[in-house]
C-alpha cells in the first residue's frame, strides 16, 4: 500500500482532506457522474440487498413482533391463548416493570422475575459503559502516547497489545473467571479472599477489569493512529516557542487527536452498550451484572414478542446514544471515514 506513487498532493494531514479523486470539472462532468452513479448502483446492490435481508428485515419483523401478544397458557383459565395484537402493552410492561396478572390486567413484577429487571439492567449497562469506556480512554491514551515514542522494543509493545484483542471474548471471560476464582491468582496475588464472581461489587469489577483488559488495546491503537497524523514540526515549533510538555499535550495533542479520539470513544461506547459475552460467561448475569442484552436473551425463551419489544428498546437506546455523540459531541464518523488525510504511517 505505498503512497509514494500517488500524485495527489499531500494535504495537511490533520485537516482530513477531501475525497480522493475528483475528475476535473468541465465538459462531460454531469455525464460522468451519471455513468459512475449507474456503476455504483450495480456494485453496491449486492451489499445493500444482503444487509437488507440480514439486518433490515429482522428489525422490521422485531418491531412488528413487539406489538403482538405472546402466545401462552393463560394463568387464570389454564387454557392456551393465541397472541393477537398487544398495542404498546409489551413496551409499557418493560418500562413500568409490570407483569401480566392471573385473570388479566397487570401487576408490578415480583422481584427476581425478568420483567422486574428492566431498570436495573439499564442501570448496569450504563454503569459498565461509562466506567469501562472512561478507563479504556485514559489507559488507551496513555498506552498510545508511549507507543508513539521512539524506543527500542517499540514494535514488541505494539505487537503485545494485539494479544488481548485477538483472544475471543468467550475465552477472555473464561480466563478471567479462572483468574478471579476463589483460589485463583488474583486473590493470591493481593492476599485477599474475595468471592469475585459471587458478590455484588466484586462481580461488577471483575467484568470491568476483564473488559478493560480486552478492549483497551483497540482504543490505544485507534488513538495511536490519530497521534501519528500530527506532524512532528508542530511539536518542534511549540518547543521553540517555549511551550511546556503539559501545554503541548493540552494545546496540540488533545485538539488534533480529538476527531480520532471521538470516533474511538463512540465505537467503544456502542460496543459496551451491547455488552453480552463477558458478563454472561463470567458471572452469568448474577449479582447485578445483567445487561440489557442478557435480559433480552433470557426473555427469548419465555416469549418472543416481549423479547422483541425489549430488543427494540435496547436498539433505540443505542441509537439515541450514537445520535447524541454525532450530533452534540462532534464525532463525525462518516466524514472521518470519507476523508482521506494521508498521514505518515
Amino acid at each position: 500500500m505505498s503512497t509514494e506513487l500517488n500524485p495527489t498532493p499531500v494535504k495537511s494531514p490533520a485537516s482530513g482532506g477531501s475525497p480522493v479523486h475528483h475528475p476535473p470539472k468541465g465538459v462531460g462532468e454531469d455525464n460522468r457522474i451519471a455513468t459512475q452513479g449507474r456503476w455504483a448502483a450495480w456494485l453496491l446492490a449486492p451489499t445493500v440487498i444482503a444487509l437488507g435481508i440480514v439486518i433490515v428485515y429482522p428489525i422490521i419483523s422485531a418491531i412488528v413482533m413487539s406489538f403482538q401478544k405472546d402466545a401462552g397458557l393463560d394463568p387464570a383459565t389454564g387454557l392456551f391463548t393465541q397472541g393477537g395484537s398487544a398495542g404498546i402493552q409489551n413496551y409499557v410492561n418493560w418500562l413500568a416493570q409490570q407483569c401480566s396478572a392471573p385473570g388479566g390486567g397487570t401487576v408490578a413484577c415480583p422481584p427476581g422475575t425478568l420483567g422486574g429487571q428492566f431498570w436495573s439492567a439499564t442501570a448496569t449497562t450504563f454503569f459498565f459503559t461509562v466506567v469501562t469506556v472512561a478507563l479504556e480512554t485514559v489507559l488507551g491514551f496513555w498506552m498510545a502516547m508511549i507507543m508513539a515514542r521512539t524506543f527500542r522494543g517499540r514494535s514488541l509493545v505494539r505487537a503485545a497489545v494485539l494479544v488481548p484483542w485477538a483472544i475471543p471474548t468467550a475465552v477472555t471471560a473464561k480466563l478471567w473467571f479462572f483468574i478471579f476464582a476463589f483460589e485463583g491468582i488474583a486473590n493470591k496475588l493481593f492476599n485477599t479472599t474475595i468471592l469475585w464472581t459471587g458478590s455484588q461489587w466484586p462481580a461488577k469489577w471483575a467484568v470491568i477489569i476483564a473488559d478493560v483488559w480486552k478492549t483497551t488495546p483497540f482504543m490505544a491503537l485507534l488513538i495511536l493512529a490519530g497521534l501519528q497524523m500530527i506532524p512532528a514540526e508542530v511539536y518542534e515549533a511549540a518547543k521553540v516557542d517555549g511551550a511546556t510538555a503539559w501545554q503541548r499535550f493540552r494545546l496540540i495533542t488533545l485538539p488534533l487527536v480529538k476527531p480520532a479520539l471521538m470516533v474511538a470513544v463512540l465505537f467503544r461506547t456502542l460496543d459496551a452498550l451491547r455488552m453480552f459475552d463477558l458478563p454472561y460467561i463470567l458471572t452469568g448475569g448474577a449479582n447485578n451484572t445483567t445487561t440489557l442484552s442478557i435480559l433480552v436473551i433470557n426473555q427469548i425463551r419465555q416469549g418472543f414478542n416481549s423479547a422483541a419489544a425489549l430488543s427494540t428498546i435496547t436498539f433505540i437506546i443505542i441509537f439515541l446514544v450514537a445520535f447524541i455523540f454525532v450530533r452534540f459531541l462532534g464525532a463525525n464518523v462518516v466524514e472521518q471515514s470519507g476523508a482521506t488525510g494521508k498521514g505518515k504511517k
Binding site: 440480514v54 475471543p168 479462572f178 418472543f304 427494540t312 471515514s337
Partner: protein, 299 residues
Amino acid sequence: MTTATADASALRARQDKGRRAAQNREKWAQGRTYLSAAIILLWCLAPAYWMVVTAFREVGFTYDTSILPTHVTLDNFNTAFDTSFGNRFGQALLNSVFIGVVVTAISLLIGVFAAYALARLNFRGKYLVLGFILGASMFPGVALITPLFQLFTNIGWMGTYQALIIPNISFVLPLTVYTMTSFFREMPWELEESARVDGCTQGQAFRKVIMPLAAPAIFTTAILAFISSWNEFLIASQLSSDATQPVTVAIANFAGAQPNQIPYTAIMAAGTIVTIPLVILVLVFQRKIVAGLTAGAVK
C-alpha cells in the same frame, strides 16, 4: 538546542550546564518510557501467559502460583478433546473454521464491489450508503436475535449452519466493506487510469490491474473478517445445536467430570488452542492488521 556561538565563556559554561541538564532530562524520560512499556507488556501479556501456563499444569496443581510451568503435562489437551463428558470441542473447532470461512468468503465476494464503488466512484448518496453500512456494523446483535430465533424455529433452521452463517454476515459484511473502502482509497489508482488510456474498459482495468494490487488489502480484510466471525458468541449461543456449535460456545459450556468441579486446566487448554493460531496470525500480519483496524477511524 541552540548552538549559537557566544564569545563570553561564562555564557558557554551556562549553556553546557543547560545541555547536561537537558541530557539528564532526556535520559530520565527515556527511562520512564521503558518503565511504561514494561508495564504495558506485563498488563497485556501476563493474563494470556497465565492461560497458557495453566494449560500445561497437572489438574492437581491447577492453582499453583509459580510463574514458570511446573508439573508439566499434555493431559489437559487430551481432556479438552475428550467427548465423554458431553464436550465436542474438536467438532466445534471444525464448525468455527467452516462458519468463519463461509462468512468471510461471502462477505468479501459481495463487499469488494461495494468498497470499490465507495472508494472510487462519485455518486449521489455516497455518504448515506457509508452511514448505513457503518450503522449496520454497530448494530446490537440482540436486536436481530429475537426475530431470527422465531423465524428459524418456524422454518426448522434452528441449529443448522445457515442459521449461524446468515446472522454473522450482518456484522462481518459491514466490517469488510468499511475496511476495504479505506484500503482502496490509498491505492495507486492512476495505474487504473493508465490501463484505461491503454484501452482497457473500467471492468478490465478493475480485473487486470486493480485486483492484483488490491490483494494484500483483501487478504488483511479477510483476516479481520475471519477473526470477528471466529469470536462471535451471542448469536451462536442461541441458534446453534450441539452438532453445529462454534468453539466460543463450546468453551463457555465446557463441562467437567463432576458438575460441581470446574475443569479449569482443560478449559485453559481449549482456550490456548483457540487463541494461539489467532495470535500467530495477528503477530505475523501485525502492521497490516493495525492499519486495517484503524483505517476506518482516522482516515
